[in-house]
């Protein structure tokens, strides 16, 4: 009973374990040394979920988040 489209599904990319954390005071994600992730391209591009390189990382462009009703 598998839907037709799902025959083309794949295993999801590994979400990985980011090295940064959210700093609520600064309202930004920061590295352990306090530096801003937003200014570190290499870290940023290697991070799946919200970054989306044009590669194997999860690209959630089209994912229709149901945040409003």
């Amino acid at each position: 009973m598998q839907p037709f489209a799902l025959r083309f599904s794949q295993a999801p990319p590994d979400a990985g374990h980011p090295s940064f954390r959210y700093d609520g005071e600064r309202q930004l994600n920061v590295q352990p040394d306090g530096s801003r992730v937003a200014r570190q391209t290499s870290i940023w591009m290697a991070t799946p979920l919200s970054t989306s390189t044009a590669g194997s990382k999860v690209h959630r462009d089209d994912d229709d988040h149901e945040y409003v009703h």
Partner: protein
């Protein structure tokens, strides 16, 4: 005046814009509606046609009347922490939070919730795109196997793609746009709506990011070797101008959709004809900005202020 950024904490794309807003000296309140109630508090009053009140998150409090603009950047659903009557409580939270914000006159939304929600529907996107003069590949969405097979025979080769854009989550899986092989058995179409689209013989992919009136166009000429660039390594993007024949149509599409932001996907055929595939109203832009230098985050920050 404050800019509200509604986003989950781990969304580092939101960081790109907040970093620029901070540099510009613009007050920002970032919170995830999923944390309301709990870490996020709200208290509003209605008196004689006016909603007054405030939103508190941590040590920050913003008067709802002092909100200049709101960027909806993939937030969680309000009431995410509810433990009793979860559905009802979440619904109450949604109406309390978005109701107060929607009632404020003059707030700029990127994007307004109504427009954002409507724009997620692929069928409507295609009709709007066609109405403004963009080329749109034929598509069928059906639960009738014979109709799917007839479309594939008539319009093939065809690709199969998600209707909503959502990836399966039970269990998690990725669903790239995929070429339907010749002789495919379409009987499983009866088990769920299936979206098939005529495949365009493309030579390039276009990611056109729209921020207000500003268009940022990136092209990948490696795209012809892959069907869905989202799942490929090594796809390269470069800045290209928006063709004069396309720009006004894209602006008309955005206006008709009520969107201030969108990431539009096109494919380019051998004759350099552009074909609209879809508009992602909450589409990613960071990977384009960081690989092409297009100042999308700055444009969003400027639009919000």
């Amino acid at each position: 005046m404050t800019v509200l950024v509604l986003s989950c904490p781990e969304d580092i794309t939101a960081d790109l814009v907040i970093d620029r807003l901070s540099t510009m000296g613009v007050p920002v309140l970032r919170f995830d509606p999923a944390d309301f109630p709990g870490r996020v508090g709200l208290s509003t009053s209605y008196t004689k046609g006016t909603i007054t009140g405030s939103i508190t998150h941590g040590r920050r409090t913003v008067d709802v009347a002092d909100v200049r603009s709101i960027w909806i950047r993939r937030p969680g659903r309000p009431g995410g922490g509810a433990t009793v009557q979860r559905g009802w409580t979440a619904h109450e939270c949604d109406h309390a939070l978005y109701g107060a914000l929607r009632a404020q006159p003059g707030i700029r939304w990127m994007n307004h919730p109504d427009a954002q929600r409507a724009a997620r529907y692929k069928a409507g996107q295609l009709c709007t795109a066609h109405a403004v003069g963009l080329s749109t590949p034929d598509l069928v969405i059906t639960t009738v196997p014979a109709d799917a097979e007839a479309f594939a025979t008539r319009s093939g080769p065809v690709v199969c793609k998600s209707i909503s854009g959502r990836h399966p989550d039970d269990p998690p899986a990725a669903l790239p746009t995929t070429l339907v092989p010749p002789g495919a058995d379409f009987s499983a179409v009866a088990h769920a709506p299936t979206c098939l689209q005529r495949r365009v013989a493309k030579v390039a992919d276009i990611r056109l990011t729209v921020v207000g009136d500003r268009l940022f166009c990136a092209r990948s000429d490696t795209g012809h070797r892959v069907l869905d660039w989202r799942f490929e390594e090594g796809v390269e993007w470069r800045n290209v101008p928006v063709p004069e024949s396309i720009g006004p149509k894209v602006r008309a599409f955005m206006a008709a959709s009520g969107l201030a932001y969108g990431a539009l996907d096109f494919v380019v055929d051998e004759a350099e004809g552009w074909h609209f595939l879809e508009c992602n109203p909450a589409g990613q832009f960071g990977f384009i900005e960081l690989t092409t230098g297009q100042p999308v985050a700055l444009a969003i920050a400027e639009w919000l202020t």
